[in-house]
Symmetry: C2
Subunit: 408 residues, 2 copies
């Protein structure tokens, strides 16, 4: 076999385990004698176009393993969404550096980039195999049981709500925690894993898969508060009304929009503050507090699911195997997908880029309860094994009451 | 010795290890034959007045240890700040239940409550020994090297900023993280422990011990952004101008005040959002994101310093020892204080309640650098051992550049 160079890059929002996939590519590549060099592009596809490239073959094993255990994209990332022209530029650089295989770790936008670059290579008659490696805390890639990055973010959200529930139980009131997720509610739904006892929060969960009605929301909160003397609420940043308008836009006049016209949802505490203000003013509850988990849920150093770590590593390894041992039928490449094969076990397929590119998975109806403010047992069964072996458990006192003497 | 009952309660904001201290009292009490029962009051001093009491002697060892490892106040807490009359009510209930020793785990307000109850008992000629057990994430108790709860919260803040720095390095821009602390900046300063490399964030740290000037702030941010192409900022929620007015009040007209006239600082993302808006509008930087760490930093399930765990347990144990083996001179009780005796080792003293009650420690000048936007080596040396043995470390690639071909 002729010697080949490969290139790896990371796109989109960072996760706690995206470096495991990158290191999986580098380490697996070393086991193939025909791979002479592993090149990394800095800041995603932007780094390819700018020829901002580094030699990953010069990294030591020890440092690679340290980086694998470090959250966020070690190569740097980008929010660029390449069009045909941009992809032609990418291809030009890949050809100039004689790259044989292109690996891009990212979400569904990234898989679309891989698809277009792959087509450009085919049209030019250049033998480039392009592999998309899945990654997203949103868990919104079709064709996958789940996506690397989601389990660790879910663990963070569940542990955060377990703590917020205990805090709220000790100093009762209403607590609103806002979680990332524009279209898919998986990460917000993970808050449900915080519950141990029937009266534990989160008592209410609001997902972008269901229409959010402010009047109904206030009724739900009042009912819960009257029952438990407190209320813990998980809210997706992507909640919207029946017309699809983001609730943050309805409650606030001053919102930031990106180049695509999408309202900026993360990096601001506005939605939590606005919902808290509604509860205070309309329900007259005094102690109402809101937190927006923001960037902590995807980058916090020191909260990772071991299952997620292992799978993120494996999708990187499998990507190299699929590229180097691919059959004629998938010679253009594809997207590595996680399949659940047991309870709990997984295996990996290479699926067509067209099956993933630009598509968004949302929570299946079977995962959302009838009222639309919580999850089903099926969701618990789905998510529990992903959180890994060291998911912590909260305990409470058994509370044996002592008879009153003065106020009996 | 005559049999004695003891009572323990938890006050103020929860911490990750406040249950260690409570369990320390319960478990140590079992080693003293004359203690016939350990009673817990639910929701702090409010539970004493309401006779909302439970029998902690009926708890199993296993469950007590599980609770010790659970964050937030297992007995419940209160924000009540008892006056003389309230303390007289407390004393009435303690006497009715024949309590011999009263243990209150809390901050400087709680120590003041213990002081007043102790005086009420003395005036009534009732032999009650009252012990204040220190606890606060703010680290603002005088007479202590540091306070239980602070090290774990500091670990959370440092790990959060380590992750935020990596996120900001991969997708460059400005990041503002707002940390709890009205008067003392210790917890915000803990963000400095996130740094490994010279260009790591947080690049700027703003503490309530220094006057905050918005124009100077914008200059600092611009200088840092021009130098690194990005900027990570740690801000205390308690920052104020030269007149002592909270910055959140200056930037926003609509702030909530508590019964004491204090501006509500936590449970809202307003300060981060307002600072981000200043940076965007005045400096013209596009990608500016803000997070408010909120309740996560004091309650997150699964981020604790082992040193903090052990010390929080020990202050509970020592409280019982001081109460049961006290000398005539401290017969009224006192406050357990942590002394640093080595690098790193501690021991415990019982100091006068008057020495702690109602006083606030702030960061020593030796801990703050000359520009007032960072910490000194002395602060690093002070805090590092408190973070414990498993403080995670971020790694980065060595980045061996590859020569450009097309754009040389």
């Amino acid at each position: 076999m002729p010697p080949v160079k490969i290139l790896v890059a990371q796109g989109g929002g960072p996760t706690a385990v995206i470096n495991q996939s990158m290191v999986g590519v580098v380490q697996e590549a070393r086991r193939f004698a025909q791979i002479e060099q592993v090149i990394g592009a800095r800041f995603g596809v932007r780094g390819i176009v700018d020829e901002n490239l580094i030699d990953l073959s010069q990294e030591s094993n020890f440092n690679l393993e340290q980086v694998a255990n470090t959250p966020s994209s070690a190569l740097g990332s980008t929010r660029d969404k390449p069009d045909e022209k941009y992809c032609a530029e990418i291809f030009k650089v890949l050809r100039a550096h004689e790259i044989g295989h292109f690996f891009y770790i990212g979400g569904n936008d990234s898989s679309d980039t891989v698809r277009i670059v792959s087509e450009a290579a085919q049209q030019a008659g250049y033998p480039l195999r392009c592999i998309h490696i899945p990654k997203t805390i949103d868990n919104d890639l079709v064709g996958n049981d789940h996506t690397p990055g989601f389990p660790s973010a879910a663990k963070f959200v569940a542990q955060a709500f377990a703590g917020a529930n205990l805090d709220n139980a000790s100093l009762p009131g209403v607590y609103v925690g806002v979680v990332m997720g524009r279209h898919a509610g998986f990460l917000t739904a993970a808050a449900a894993m915080a519950k141990t006892f029937p009266d534990d929060g989160p008592h209410l969960i609001y997902l972008p898969e269901r229409t959010f009605d402010i009047a109904q929301f206030l009724t739900d909160v009042k009912t819960t508060y009257d029952k438990y003397g407190r209320c813990v609420i998980a809210v997706s940043e992507g909640i919207h009304d029946a017309s699809g308008t983001a609730i943050i836009s309805l409650l606030s006049k001053d919102v930031e929009k990106d180049a695509h016209g999408n309202v900026q949802l993360s990096g601001t505490g506005a939605l939590a503050d606005l919902l808290c203000e509604e509860i205070k003013s309309k329900l007259g509850i005094k102690r109402v507090r809101g937190d927006t988990f923001g960037y902590l849920q995807r980058s916090f150093l020191g909260c990772v699911s071991d299952v997620d770590q292992h799978e993120a590593r494996e999708v990187g390894e499998k990507a190299v195997q699929f590229a180097l041992r691919g059959t004629r039928s998938d010679s253009r490449g594809g997207s590595v997908a996680i399949r659940r094969t047991g309870d709990y076990a997984v295996n990996y397929d290479l699926i067509a880029l067209e099956a993933v590119a630009g598509k968004t998975r949302v929570m299946e109806d079977a995962f959302i309860n009838a009222s639309g403010t919580g999850v089903t047992d099926a969701f618990h069964a789905y998510l529990r094994p992903l959180l890994g072996r060291d998911f912590p458990q909260a305990a409470r006192l058994r509370m044996n009451a002592i008879d009153k003497i003065l106020k009996k």
